[in-house]
């Protein structure tokens, strides 16, 4: 059952408060305040109060004054005026100054109050949904902004480099020089290609629906082993994979593969070229419907001050190797999709360990 709606009633006559609470307490959670300072204390203490009823005629401040004040300090709860008089002026004031949602005439009947609460609650929900949607939109918009900004560097950057090289090539006669240029141009094109591929990953992670299937980790790792064995041989990096899976595991294969692939790719990419003992180790264990994955490398490590930022879009911790700034961001998005999480532990010049935990769906 949904939690009871929280309602605050402010009235200087205690018997009104008692009556109100008595007839409504079963369906709602009722707070009552005999004066305005007490009402404000309730509002400060409990931000989930959704509807406020307030009597107009009270000693000191009127209901209108109260509403006018909390409209600024506590804008979320919906304000409803109770008034014993058909006092047109105070109602107009309440509407204009207190921006009240409704007014209910005293002596009230229960049906009127319940109806007012229902309507107020709908209004409250619509408003808070709107606020959530607004936040989401703002986030999406910020990301888009960042995206457009980065595209200028990561796509136009390599392109302008290639363009410059072509321009220069017109005057180059020396074959060796030409070859060196072609080698560098190839690197730029490869980088561009990787960037476009990761952009595709990024997009499909943001939009795609989950496709849950049974996952065989041995199977996935065999595919990845085939891909990385070449790199492992050429660069003399020992590559060890250890999978312990004795139970069935359900998840979406595409984001799962993306996570493993990106982490592996980094583990190989950021090796210390001069080191003698280079290795990448993957340990996967499935236990109690949870996959725990360790990916350890003996690479260059990550600066402690960068650890907090490595999962951000377009963050690059290192200038030595080509990176798009997409990789770990995509890993993080994929993990959000699979309800998993990731921890990182890194020592500069010694290596990095990523620990990934993913629940079976």
């Amino acid at each position: 059952m949904a939690e009871k709606i929280k309602i605050l009633y402010v009235d200087d006559e205690p018997e009104n408060l008692v009556g109100f609470k008595a007839s409504l307490r079963l369906d709602y959670q009722i707070f009552t305040a005999v004066n305005i300072p007490e009402a404000i204390r309730y509002l400060d203490k409990d931000p989930e109060i959704r509807v406020i009823f307030c009597d107009q005629r009270m000693p000191g401040k009127t209901g209108v004054d109260f509403f006018e004040e909390i409209r600024i300090t506590h804008p979320l709860p919906v304000r409803i005026m109770l008034t014993a008089y058909t006092d047109v002026d105070s109602i107009i004031d309440a509407i204009n100054k207190g921006h009240i949602f409704r007014y209910v005439r005293k002596p009230w009947i229960e049906a009127d109050i319940i109806w007012a609460i229902d309507e107020a609650n709908k209004f409250y929900m619509a408003n808070s949904m709107l606020a959530i949607k607004n936040d989401e939109l703002q986030k999406a918009y910020n990301e888009l902004n960042k995206f457009a900004y980065s595209v200028s560097h990561d796509i136009r950057g390599p392109l302008s480099g290639i363009l410059g090289a072509i321009n220069l090539a017109r005057d180059v006669d020396d074959v060796d020089e030409m070859k060196e240029m072609l080698f560098l141009m190839e690197k730029s094109v490869t980088k561009l290609n990787t960037y476009v591929l990761s952009m595709h990953d990024y997009y499909s992670l943001q939009r795609g629906e989950l496709k849950i299937t049974e996952i065989d980790f041995n199977n996935i790792m065999d595919e990845l082993k085939a891909i990385y064995s070449v790199n492992s041989k050429i660069n003399h990096v020992t590559f060890k994979v250890n999978v312990k899976q004795d139970e069935v595991f359900f998840s979406d294969k595409a984001p799962l593969r993306l996570i493993l692939n990106n982490l592996l790719s980094n583990a190989f990419k950021y090796q210390d070229k001069s080191s003698k003992n280079k290795s990448v180790e993957v340990d996967i264990e499935i236990k109690k419907s949870e996959a725990v994955i360790y990916i350890r490398d003996t690479g260059i490590g990550i600066l402690a001050s960068h650890l907090g930022e490595i999962f951000n879009l377009f963050f690059r911790s290192n200038s030595l190797e080509v990176g798009s700034g997409f990789g770990l961001y995509n890993v993080k998005s994929a993990l959000v999709k699979l309800n998993g999480h990731i921890e990182v532990d890194s020592v500069l010049h010694q290596g990095t360990t990523f620990k990934v935990t993913i629940p079976s769906t």
Partner: protein, 141 residues
């Protein structure tokens, strides 16, 4: 032809460094050119007043968007160096300009005392020649 400048290229893209270097060499094969793929290393070297070829003025061709230390940060740090070191260098921004770039950023470039010229990538022979002419004429300091 005797060289009248030396150069430092700071750019994370190897290809861009290569292309810029070749263009410079084509203009004058006696130019002394030093390349840094990382602005922090460049700053270290400059900070130690490591001057090339006596006291030739050195033109720094600086990319803006680089990981770790970007071009703006480099200039900020550079401006903290002693005036004795600074006066030997001329900083010229060599970068990709794009319409999606925040105009505030571009405007911001000129608030740096040490920057007074921008060249848009890709570099060409013409752009390089007119740049060198401007430096010779003293309109870029």
């Amino acid at each position: 032809m005797k060289a009248e400048f030396s150069f430092i290229i700071i750019d994370d893209s190897e290809l861009d460094c290569f292309v810029t270097k070749k263009f410079l060499e084509r203009t004058n094969k006696n130019f002394v050119i030093e390349i840094f793929n990382n602005a922090e290393h460049a700053l270290d070297t400059i900070g130690k007043n490591h001057s090339l070829e006596g006291d030739l003025p050195t033109i720094i061709l600086l990319d803006l968007q680089m990981p770790r230390m970007n071009g703006f940060k480099f200039v900020e740090e550079f401006e903290k160096l002693s005036p004795e070191i600074q006066k030997n260098y001329i900083i010229i921004i060599l970068t990709v300009l794009s319409p999606s770039r925040d105009p505030k950023d571009l405007y911001g470039i000129f608030t740096y005392r040490k920057i007074n010229s921008i060249v848009e990538k890709p570099l060409t022979k013409d752009k390089l020649n007119s740049l060198l002419n401007e430096v010779r004429m003293g309109s870029i300091k």
